[in-house]
């Protein structure tokens, strides 16, 4: 899905791992107080290694952490319904605005005020455009 488009620094990796670990804990320990307890433990595990200067060890630790995260993923991670991966994500497609321009005249006639206003706004927009950028040249088709 996502192509690696930039460099990800070590700090970012640790932060991301920490956040994902917390999310994972959240789906396993569903009572808030229990989750808090485990979150503190998790924070402690990260804090223990925060002073490691040797990048080889640090990298290794991250790899281990990611592997552990993968091995402990929940079968139904807690997701907000409207965020990606959630149950209601992308349920309704909002058709683009230009679809309205291609309505049949009879359909448009059902909402006369709206379409009158819409046409007026379009004219105003064209006027604004021309004022700003000048008249467009003759279109090729």
């Amino acid at each position: 899905m996502s192509l690696p488009t930039g460099l990800v620094s070590h700090t970012q990796k640790v932060k991301s791992l920490y956040k994902q670990a917390l999310r994972c804990l959240e789906s396993w320990y569903d009572r808030r107080e229990v989750y808090r307890y485990h979150a503190v433990l998790m924070r402690n595990r990260f804090d223990l290694n925060k002073d490691i200067k040797d990048m080889r060890i640090a990298k290794d630790l991250i790899a281990q952490g990611e592997e552990e995260l993968f091995k402990k993923q929940h079968w139904l991670p807690r997701k907000f319904p409207h965020s990606p991966g959630g149950v209601a994500h992308g349920r309704e497609v909002i058709p683009p605005d230009w679809v309205l321009d291609y309505w049949h005249p009879l359909e448009k006639a059902q909402y006369p005020e709206y379409f009158a206003r819409r046409e007026q706004r379009k004219r105003e927009y064209v006027k604004l455009w021309e004022k700003k950028f000048g008249k467009s040249e003759a279109l090729p088709h």
Partner: protein, 570 residues
């Protein structure tokens, strides 16, 4: 007038009419049989057959009543949707297909309802435009299509008898080799439609549909179509097939009961509970008591529809959240929904004198009386316990305890239409079990059991309730036993890996095979040996002849000499 009100009123009216008809037909012992001849090929005629007896009328009246309530309910649930008209029309089409399925005792005319159910339910599952419903719809439609194909094949075998009105042949031809093949294929079809074990994965996946659809389609009507077909067909099953069905259905019941105890999606828990109830119906059916299966089918339709409607109300008021880990303590916010939810849940568990009790307890006791094997006995009672277990877990998770939802919320019981729609069903959930048992059975079943076996159901219920309560409690979560037994809990929560097997496991080879065939056969060998091959042969041939044409006049002279020599030598 709003489209929902129109169809809701219409269906309510017809439901009442059909209910009265069914009572009349029971009292008089009537059966009406109508045939429309469509086509005659030699001596076998393809007919549209309609069979009306108390069973069809009762089933139709229940389906219409539930759909009337669900459509009324959808007016508010789907109110903000711009395509609500399409939605309601699809639901109405679904109800019509169901009617056609119920009244057709003919293998060809039943296809009208059977395929209609599959296609319309596909449209309803993919009603939402997200990828989840896309996949779920594909899984649903294709699982059901296996059943359609099985029915088509059954039609091909039925032609041996010269007619497809199977009701005439079931008794006489039991044990006939053709009839055996037909019954195997019909059972296969019913297994797909009722989501029994190899095909179970579509039912929880189909929960991607809007909740009214889950309430009407995937709990009370569509999935019971398979059971209904078997109820009509069960007279011709041989012993082996009955054992097979018993095994499959008991495994389904057990599997879904376990799965529901590990599930966190509100709708999927109820879907899995539907699956376990379907297993129960199939089980009692394969033990020979088809009337009991029908009885449980009806009562189950009522309380399961209500359960889903309550779930829909919860989802609606908490803003599309379906994860029960986000809920908790909702009883303070949604008291009436909680009451409905609990009543139908307890009815599902078989609490005495609610409607589920009459059917489920009867099933359990008939099961115990016709003692078959310890395995069946054990699985059955454990599954009954599991039903109670996940129901109580669900209640404790979502309604009791601490409030786990977002702090900015507007959870309150404001959806009047939905409450009214649910209110229409609640009375039936409470009363219909007893009244149905008085209506359907001409005399009460005689149950003779030792005390321990008699109260075993109650014991299992209490045990299940206790375990369910424990499951929802603090200390389970404190040490997360499911994290400790990681692979086991994955296995159980993923329905014994069935969703993986029936999606990736099935579609991998056709797609790879399609690509292979397209590349190597269609665009490969067929071209090489066909058009492109001929083309290249002709091109190279004409290139060779072009060498001769190409200005080398000596070759012509040589050729002429050769020819002359040949002529002279001959």
């Amino acid at each position: 007038m709003h489209i929902c009100l129109i169809f809701s009123g219409l269906f309510l009216f017809w439901s009442t009419v059909f209910f009265l008809f069914s009572i009349y037909f029971i009292v008089e012992g009537l059966t009406w049989f109508l045939e429309f001849n469509l086509l005659m090929i030699n001596s076998s005629s393809i007919v549209m057959t309609l069979l009306f007896d108390w069973m069809t009328f009762l089933f139709m009246s229940f389906v219409l009543f539930i759909s009337s309530m669900v459509i009324f309910y959808s007016r508010e649930y789907m109110a903000s949707d711009i395509f609500i008209n399409r939605f309601i029309m699809l639901v109405v089409m679904f109800v019509f297909s169901m009617m056609f399925l119920i009244v057709s005792p003919n293998l060809i005319s039943i296809l009208l309802g059977w395929d209609g159910l599959g296609l319309v339910s596909y449209c309803l599952v993919i009603y939402y435009q997200n990828v989840k419903s896309f996949n779920a719809g594909m899984l649903t439609a294709l699982s059901n299509r296996i059943g359609d194909v099985a029915l088509l094949m059954a039609i091909a075998w039925m032609v041996n008898y010269g007619s497809w009105n199977y009701v005439f042949y079931l008794f006489q031809l039991k044990g006939d080799s053709y009839m055996n093949v037909i019954s195997y294929l019909v059972v296969l079809a019913a297994l797909t439609k009722s989501a029994q074990i190899p095909f179970s994965s579509w039912l929880p996946a189909a929960m991607a549909a809007p909740t009214p659809v889950s309430s009407l389609v995937h709990s009370s009507t569509l999935v019971t179509a398979g059971v209904y077909l078997l109820i009509r067909f069960n007279f011709c099953f041989n012993e082996w097939l009955m054992y097979f069905l018993l095994f499959i259905s008991s495994m389904t019941m057990f599997m879904s009961g376990l799965g529901a105890s590990f599930e966190f999606d509100l709708k999927k828990i109820i879907a899995l509970s539907t699956l376990s109830q379907l297993g129960l119906m199939m089980m009692i059916l394969s033990l020979g008591s088809y009337e009991l299966a029908f009885f449980h089918l009806l009562t189950h339709a009522l309380f399961k529809a209500l359960l889903f409607m309550c779930a829909g109300n919860i989802i609606h008021s908490v803003g599309d959240f379906q994860d029960i880990r986000y809920m908790g303590g909702l009883v303070k916010f949604l008291p009436l929904t909680c009451v409905y939810f609990n009543i139908s849940n307890l009815s599902l568990c078989g609490l005495p004198f609610l409607s589920g009790f009459y059917s489920k307890d009867l099933v359990a006791e008939i099961m115990s009386m016709g003692y078959l094997s310890f395995y069946i006995y054990l699985i059955f009672y454990v599954s009954i316990g599991l039903t109670v277990c996940y129901s109580f877990r669900l209640v404790y998770y979502s309604f009791v305890g601490s409030f786990n939802f977002l702090s900015l919320n507007s959870v309150y019981e404001g959806s009047v239409m939905m409450i009214k729609g649910m209110g229409g069903l609640i009375f039936l959930v409470i009363f219909m079990g007893s009244s149905l048992s008085w209506i359907i059975f001409p005399y009460p079943y005689v149950i003779i059991l030792p005390l321990f076996m008699k109260i075993l159901t109650l014991l299992m219920v209490i045990l299940g309730a206790w375990i369910g309560y424990e499951l929802s409690k603090f200390f389970i979560s404190y040490d997360s036993l499911s994290l400790k037994n990681y692979s086991l809990s994955w296995f159980l929560s993923n329905m014994w890996n069935m969703p993986v097997i029936s999606t990736l496991g099935i579609n991998y080879y056709p797609i790879i095979g399609g690509s292979f065939l397209y590349k190597s056969l269609d665009q490969g060998w067929s071209e090489v040996l066909g058009s492109q091959g001929i083309y290249s042969v002709i091109v190279s041939g004409s290139k060779i002849s072009q060498i001769f044409m190409n200005n080398s006049i000596k070759i012509f002279f040589v050729l002429m000499i050769v020819w002359l020599m040949i002529i002279f030598m001959i």
